[in-house]
Symmetry: C2
Subunit: 407 residues, 2 copies
């Protein structure tokens, strides 16, 4: 089996967390100076670990091993959400790096190896999983032409040119090289913490279905228009949202989650009755049948609200994400490693968040390991995990990876 | 009695509507080139009508008569909401102008006269009734220093300087000069139209109470946070809004109106549970006791929602507008004129919208006359009134003004 150097792992995490530091977290948007500094830091470490690093034309870093056999692809991402945590992404890259070093030190002659990856833009500054989707061949040049930063509006082409990556080759997967993909991540929820567990064995990554629901009424003066004749799109939205919150539990499964993340009233002035209102509504579940059932229910509620009036109600589906099942034998390897190295304080759980593993899972066996998030907090600079849990997670990751490599 | 020249009135309206035309309406923000062109147009007409025009340091135009007796102050405003109608404001100015001309032509020797006013920024591009409030002495230099355009953000000081008004005297009311203020306006509602009436005798201008209601929950990841532990500020807002819509009819009076004009979820991203939500909520009524009762009920509902949780709920009152009662004897004069010149197709109604008359009413007797709005539409370029109703309104206005002047 493989074992990690805990001190080196925590020291690496400290170095990486200092790049683009923001309070106790980091601010490292995709292709920003800080993100690129992290990529260079990683490439130096990969070289030192005996791997051959390459940064490709979309900002992916891949450290390739020169071993003759099949490889385990392992990693995560280095950029962050704006003003967010230091572990979301980097932890998975550091576990992969440390495991590759352990393999180099402890089993130099083993035929099978590890390739270490840091996918660009998992956090979606420019698009949706652009780096890992490019690697599996799902991103066209046209998609990159159109991609702009959601915070500042600059184009991805400009950002790539500034990073010296314009015109550089984009790496794509060679399927015969890889036996599977393995990614570690913080849970970003509170299941492990609340049950005093240290390892989550991910069973699947949930599918996310996203809708824009639109209410069309009549815009008018808020002082002169009698209540009886109003067709207020904002009121229609609030009533619909209340109804959805009441009815969702009757059709949802145990772990389904649903969220209205944004609401826009048009024109949005205090003294004008909104003529139009939009809400962004999503639900997530690991079971495709549940997703279909929820979609059917939502469409029926929308038709009902439209029929009752007084506003027209319609919806556009923006995303129908397929749940990604994690590979059963890789799950078993993680579970066995947790049994041995984490006092059996593990549990099989689905991932409610999206990860690059769901993209890799479309072309090869994939697996994920979770460590606890303190207070379940993520996408915020206060995001954190106990050092002991970070080390324990690294041990289980390396042991499971070793098993996947036949050690 | 005084009578108008209907052809001249409609011709003036045509000339004025061509300045800053937008589709069938106009786009004339306060102190824009188009608004200033209207002011110059008016000043020429005032001079021709034998009045002495002056544009003051806040953009008010006042055409003063030279008659020795007391005066009726009459007018409205010339700027528009963005891309809005041609009648909201200009109609009242044109009625005042035409009535002043009728007085000049038909009663040149009468001691009492008419001053014609076009108040700047009734539509609130820079503030709240800045022109008429300046005229009654309610606007400090500091308030003007701070005023910025709500659409483009430029300062009122810059706009005044560009208009050549920097440092110019601001006119203030001399109370002994005026026997009262008289303003005509489109109804902006559908009461007159739906009852096939042509004249509204305004009894009062409603008081407007405005609140920002805030919901504080916990921001978190929309995929990883279980439904059971969420404190979603957006859901709390929607539930509260549904409750308010249900309960308001039980405490409101017959003509009370209430509106949620804008909603903000923070941070407002599809995959983030809103940690904070704000709604702008207002109600309006002509009865001070009703306003107090509604405020008390709203505060109780907010306390109840805060107690029940899971989000904190609080409110800030942004405005407690006092209803403005119109002068009874001036109302009687309008009613008598409508009886004689509009076939008694008139009705006493409150104004749900705010008008400069409510500002003038704080220092002198004030009255308003309404003409019908087609479809009740206003603050939109499709706003309109039948020519026959425009002429009939002008006749009643002039006749009532004549009566107020003792003719």
């Amino acid at each position: 089996m493989l074992d990690i150097n805990a001190e080196r792992l925590l020291s690496d995490l400290g170095e990486l967390s200092a790049i683009g530091q923001f309070r106790t977290g980091v601010h490292r948007p995709s292709l920003s100076a800080e993100h690129l500094a992290c990529c260079r830091w990683l490439m130096d470490k990969l070289t030192a670990a005996g791997l051959d690093p390459f940064m490709d034309g979309i900002g992916n870093v891949l450290g390739r091993s020169t071993r003759p056999g099949q490889h385990l692809l392992a990693g995560s991402h280095l950029e962050s959400q704006n003003h967010a945590g230091r572990l979301d992404g980097p932890l998975g890259v550091l576990y992969a790096l440390e495991t590759a070093r352990a393999l180099q030190e402890q089993r130099p002659g083993h035929a099978k190896g590890i390739d270490v990856a840091a996918w660009c833009d998992e956090e979606g500054h420019f698009g949706s999983f652009l780096g890992s989707r490019s690697f599996v061949g799902q991103v066209s040049e046209i998609e990159i032409d159109k991609a702009t930063d959601r915070t500042h509006g600059h184009t991805m082409r400009d950002a790539l040119a500034k990073a010296g990556l314009a015109g550089k080759q984009r790496l794509t997967v060679s399927l015969e090289r890889y036996l599977g993909y393995f990614e570690a991540h913080i849970e970003q929820g509170d299941v492990l913490e609340s049950e005093r567990l240290t390892i989550g064995v991910v069973t699947s990554i949930v599918g996310l279905w996203q809708y824009r629901i639109t209410f069309e009424g009549v815009q008018n003066h808020a002082g002169t228009t009698r209540m009886a004749i109003r067709r207020d799109a904002g009121v229609a939205l609030a009533r619909f949202m209340g109804m959805v919150e009441e009815r969702m539990p009757t059709v949802a499964a145990e772990r389904t989650v649903w969220t209205t993340g944004s609401i826009t009233l048009d024109p949005g002035a205090p003294s004008i009755i909104p003529g139009r209102a939009d809400m962004m509504f999503q639900f997530r579940d690991a079971d495709p049948d549940v997703l279909l059932r929820l979609d059917k229910a939502l469409m029926a509620w929308i038709a009902e609200a439209d029929r009752i009036g007084p506003c027209r109600v319609s919806a556009v589906n923006l995303r129908k994400g397929v749940p990604a099942r994690m590979d059963p034998s890789m799950q078993a390897a993680i579970e066995a490693a947790a049994q041995q190295h984490a006092g059996a304080r593990h549990k099989r759980i689905p991932s409610g968040a999206g990860h690059d593993a769901q993209i890799l899972a479309t072309v090869m066996p994939a697996a994920m390991l979770f460590v606890p998030s303190i207070g379940g907090i993520s996408h915020h600079w206060t995001e954190n995990t106990e050092d002991a849990d970070i080390v324990s997670g690294g041990r289980v990751f390396a042991a499971a990876a070793g098993a996947m490599l036949g050690l």
